[in-house]
Amino acid sequence: MSFDGTLSVSEGIATIEVKGELDASTAPRFHDLVDQAAEQGAVRLEIDARHLGFLASAGLRSLVFARQKMGDEVRIAVIGATEPVSRTIRLAGFDHSIELIDA
């Protein structure tokens, strides 16, 4: 399973680009990036999911982690998620705390 995540922060907006598969084995790396984004005081977190192929339950759980790590005042968006990924996020009910934005 391949996963690649990169964090960039610009003008208070943190962007985490995720590629590959976010599951139990790769979620800790994603969590580290969320930690770093929080430490840098981001006011908005964008998760670039255009190249995210698969989201396992641990990956969904990671979105909950991000939500709670970043605090209420920080807006979180998942950008460009594929239909299966965004559908899963919606059905689980996470679209209420996380914005889903088309790429």
């Binding site: 709670q68 689980a92 009910g93 209420h96």
Partner: protein
Amino acid sequence: MTVQETRERVDAFPTRRIGGYRVRAGRPFPYGAHPVPGGVNFSVYSDRATAMRLVLFEKGAPRPVAELEFPPEFRIGSVYAMTVFDLDAENLEYGFRADGPFDPRTGDRFDAGKVLSDPYARLVSGRDVWGREPDWDDVYPYRANVLEDDFDWGDDTPLGIPTEDLVIYETHVRGFTRHPSSGVSAPGTYAGLREKIPYLKDLGVNCVELLPVFEFDELDNPRTDPATGERLHNYWGYNTVSFFAPKAGYAATGRFGMQADEFKTLVRELHRAGIEVVLDVVFNHTAEGNEDGPTISFRGLDNATYYMLTPQGEYYNFSGTGNTVNCNHPVVRDFVLSCLRYWVSEYHIDGFRFDLAAILDRAPDGTPLPNPPLLEQLAHDPILRHTKLIAEAWDAAGLYQVGAFPNYGRWSEWNGKYRDSVRRFIKGEPGLVGELATRMAGSPDLYGGRTASASVNFVTAHDGFTLNDLVSYNDKHNEANGEDNRDGGNDNHSWNCGEEGPSASAHVRDLRTRQMKNMLGILLTSQGVPMILAGDEVGRTQLGNNNGYCQDNELSWFDWGLVEANAELLEFTQRLIAFRHAHPVLRTVDHPVGSDRVGSGFPDISWHGVGAWRPDWSAHSRVVGLMRCGRHAKGGAVADDHVYIGINAHWESHDLELPGLPEGQAWHLFADTSLAAPHGLAEVGAESELHHPGRYHLGPHALVILVGRDRRTG
């Protein structure tokens, strides 16, 4: 002052290794599996086991990855507890293996060959997608998982709707949106139901009662449809496998193990819409059945504790399903209480309806107890203090406690006598006027000394005919259930209005519609808490099947095409519900007594016949009128109009003399079920004054609802 440096917790260190895993003696409470710093704490009770092992699987793996025996020093009393470190909880399934004697005469049925599911498992995998064929040879079919409690409830708080103000809607998570006509993105799921919340709001109900949502196995039914040969499912789900786990197959995200989140989201969104959630819970028996049933959990962990056994060690069968949960054993009481507390605190559930609740007051030897400790405990529990507790106050072994269920001033009951009386009266049976009057007044004969909300009134429920079938079939038609039509009740008190089943006759169809409206009209103007079966508001049919427990198909599913096809009945129901919400006099806490308690000049409730103030209680009478005095609403605390309900179950029309109103007031027509739409139904608050102030001509098989209030001037 703040702590500058967070020290690592001392209890986060393992003390030894077992089977290559770093572990330490665990905490006995809470039972089950809970994440703790650095690991997961496991705790399980067994009084009679001689050895206990924790069995660990990687998710979905056919064989365990490890088995860790609890050393003697990890046992406190009869509880085995161990913290295991460095586990990947997301990718873990766990169970227990208990060794001990197999001697049914002493109640022991240990089987070290089985991997047992944790009774306290909060997440269970194995039936993640509804109906999907499993590996029948799986050594561990219902697998306990570790759940993280990290759901964001936002500002969700209990709605706290007074019980007497509820309008309950009984529905099935899957059946509500599984039909292709539902138009939701994930049919048959919690998420699908969430998409239909606007419909529920428009209907006006403020409480949904969900058929069982605790994990069960829809594939545990061995029968097939004799006509098609297709597998019959356990569709209703009254056969619990795991009491702390929401049914995964009801979640669109069950395959991701996200069913807890999806269900919590549903509850949160229902609350946002002003709708409470009551769960139908089945504590009277488990899915393990009798001696021949599967060993899933309880039987293998401590059979003699969890089940009522005869002196010979056989299973008592008060539930009619093979076994009976030993509810008043102290350990089992604790289990039931913990379970309900969990659903209230973690899922924000507003109340519970207890299936075959009479079993909950039986002692371990089956004797009914006058003061059953479990029921008393539930009634006074701090966490459950404001939840609704509703009993199905009978069991399958003849214990019938409607009106006599030990209630501690807290419990409500499904009023089975209400159901039968309304059905029989509307059908046209003689000698029922007095009986109907008592039921509409909140059944003070059954619930005297308690509030009127002790009575949950219903005409139909999941078990039995739908409302449409009640007026379309004289007899049940359960052939598709595979038991030669022997299953299901025979005391339906139904009348087909002249023709069995669907009818081409306009006369028959009109009469059926009217009879459905009559029963809805009685239900929603009666004292007590009305409960509507989902789909009755649009005339849902099960083609005469009165026991749809195994029919996971169009027979049971809510056909959304009916919303348009039967728009008239739907609108009638919507407005009736709105009428109830608008008139607090119908929702008064105390039973009406028939006298003037506020100095209004009118009794709180009065009875009428063809002549005003002259009710005809005789055996041949089929007409009754009742007036509720609005000044008595909520004990006189709020202002309301007068409400008159006239009911004619006779096949001829009658002229009803109406009781007089105070000077300046007049009767206004809200609903008359004998008039064809759009006549005979007003908008709530916009009712028109009657042309003839003192009389009302009511057609055959009809019901009229009038509002007495000030004449419009000018």
